[in-house]
């Protein structure tokens, strides 16, 4: 029996597995530098990460702590005992012939991630977070028809954590928003850079389709090779549609692994490297197990920073910010920190500081090509500038000039004085500029006198410019109206 896709009500079930590089100085089991992206090939390697016989690995305590910090940020339980296991398979990027990972006793279990998707708050379960090590990298070359691979082991042994989510996601958009929220938390707590382009944050997805009444249930399909949030969303939209069409046509969906081909916008069936998931896990004999004391967990918990969702809520509550501004200010921890330093004790100035930061400081940051965590002016200087604006000592245009001209360590008022940017209270200066403007714009003057009152806007703009941006708009308008009525 074949049914049109529209006659069936489908449900999509998605679970995500994220691999995130743990931010450390050295590798997981040896003291080689964990920096691999910019180093020449095979310069950060030793007997341990090359897998030479007899080499003895030693656990990086900081990596363990980062994984526990991640688990706690995701509301996980930290079991008092865990161990490491060997996952065996052969591939040239894995010199030992096994990857050290965790099988049945991971560092963190049973958590959840709360995130917002299309304006609705959602909570998805986190099955586990465990520690493992990354592999080396292969570069493929063609040698007169024969294919060879170049092996670079700089990445071999770099600490990696796997964050396994429950199949609680119901749409591709939700999957994307889950990933964005997870990455934001990892960055907030300093556990990972979350950089997807550099491969420091990778995602595989399991997606299955069923009918709402449960009469038809497709097998779980694993999707790989998605290298951006957009790719995850696109791949899942494609796969959701593919599975629905198959089920509607009365066909079955086999359990398989498929790769996303971004250029073509399709998923294709992949031959898996291992014939079965026959990794023959067994306890790693070179690494004694870990006992995680409650006091250790407590100290990590106590050192957790305020997480993005809580911080956003506090910004709305304490500073009276709108939800979208609070969201923008808390996207990155560095931005939120800068904002809070700028506000300091002047809470009543917070909204203005938020406006100036989001519009003008960010604008200047982009213009100068600065990274998101490098600010063109100091936080205290932003506060001083907003104070001058609120006191009427600086016009909006004067403040913009001051933003662009102030140097580190300088006092905003002193620079405004030096650059002659302070607002002019002296009406003689404005009157002179206004007379000059009126003489130069007979057409606009005629328009105004002929009843087109809107023409005053252009005259005001010219007059303010003639004062070097120092004339306050209300004073300028009053003087122009006075002169035009004569």
């Amino acid at each position: 029996m074949t049914l049109a896709a529209t006659e069936l009500e489908f449900r999509t079930v998605i679970g995500l597995e994220v691999h995130a590089q743990v931010l450390t100085q050295s590798k997981m089991f040896c003291s080689c530098s964990a920096e691999y992206a910019s180093a020449p090939p095979n310069t950060h390697v030793c007997q341990v990460c090359m897998g030479l016989p007899g080499a003895l690995p030693v656990i990086n305590r900081s990596a363990i702590e980062s994984v526990i910090r991640t688990g706690l940020a995701l509301g996980c339980t930290i079991p008092p005992y865990c161990k490491l296991d060997r996952k065996n398979y052969f591939y040239p990027d894995l010199p030992k012939g096994y990857q050290v990972s965790q099988y049945d006793l991971p560092l963190c279990v049973d958590g959840q991630l709360t995130f917002t998707s299309e304006g609705v708050e959602k909570t998805a379960g986190i099955t586990r977070v465990h520690i493992e090590e990354d592999t080396g990298r292969l570069l493929h070359r063609d040698e007169g028809g024969a294919s060879v691979s170049l092996v670079d082991l700089n990445r071999s042994g770099v600490p990696l954590m796997e964050i396994v989510g429950e199949p609680d996601l119901t749409s591709p958009v939700e999957a994307r928003d889950y990933l964005i929220a997870l990455r934001q938390i990892l960055r907030y707590i300093g556990a990972s850079t979350g950089n997807m382009e550099e491969g420091a944050f990778r995602c595989d997805a399991n997606i299955s389709t069923r009918t709402a009444d449960g009469s038809i249930v497709g097998e779980k399909v694993e999707i790989k090779n998605m290298n951006s949030f957009r790719a995850v969303e696109r791949a899942l939209i494609y796969e959701e549609e593919r599975q629905r069409k198959l089920l509607a046509a009365g066909e079955s969906i086999p359990q398989e692994t498929r790769g996303w081909v971004d250029a073509r916008g399709v998923t294709v069936s992949q031959r898996t490297k291992e014939s079965a998931h026959d990794y023959r896990y067994f306890p790693e004999p070179d690494l004694p197990p870990l006992t995680i004391e409650a006091s250790f967990v407590d100290s990590v918990q106590a050192a957790l920073p305020e997480l993005p969702a809580a911080r956003k809520a506090r910004f709305i509550e304490s500073f009276g910010l709108g939800a979208s501004d609070a969201e923008l200010l808390t996207l990155e921890r560095e931005t939120a920190d800068y904002f809070e330093v700028a506000v300091g004790s002047t809470t009543d100035r917070a909204r203005q500081i938020s406006n100036w930061l989001l519009n003008d400081v960010f604008g200047l940051q982009r213009e100068r090509g600065l990274p998101f965590d490098a600010f063109p002016i100091e936080a205290q200087q932003l506060n001083q500038i907003v104070e001058l604006v609120e006191a009427g000592d600086l016009t909006g245009s004067g403040a913009k000039s001051l933003l662009a001209g102030i140097e580190p360590g300088e006092n905003a008022r002193a620079v405004a004085e030096r650059l002659n940017l302070l607002a002019v209270g002296d009406s003689d200066v404005i009157r002179a500029a206004a007379l000059e403007t009126l003489t130069a714009n007979p057409a606009a003057v005629a328009d105004y006198k002929g009843g087109k009152k809107a023409a005053i806007g252009r005259l005001m703009g010219d007059t303010i410019r003639a004062t070097g941006g120092r004339g306050r708009p209300d004073t300028v308008r009053a003087i122009l109206e006075e002169l035009l009525s004569e």
Partner: protein, 101 residues
């Protein structure tokens, strides 16, 4: 415990070993004897002994996150059969071209 030839083939595939028919027979017999020998442990009464993954009685052997010098280039490639572009050169495994650009 008698292994089947299919078991031997599966293990051989995982180990990337190509076996002749004579070797398959020999491996089946040898591996079966090894498993029987290990199986004798099952005769012991271990009900009162808690399971463990380690026999050293050590826990939390870890180090601080500090970087130490790595190998020199000479040390890295001392035993490498082939080197090019600062990398070990190997034959590309089947189906491996699509892995990374």
């Amino acid at each position: 415990m008698a292994l089947t030839l299919a078991d031997v083939d599966h293990v051989a595939t995982l180990a990337r070993l190509g076996l002749t028919d004579a070797e398959r027979e020999r491996m089946r017999d040898q591996l079966s004897v090894i498993l029987d020998h290990i199986g004798e442990l099952a005769e012991l009464d271990t009900d009162s002994i808690p399971p463990t993954a380690s026999v050293t009685n050590m826990t939390n052997v870890w180090r601080d996150d500090t970087v130490q010098p790595s190998f020199t280039t000479d040390q890295v490639f001392q035993n490498a059969p082939r080197v090019a572009e600062g990398c070990f050169v190997v034959r590309t495994p089947l189906g491996g071209e699509g892995d990374e650009a």
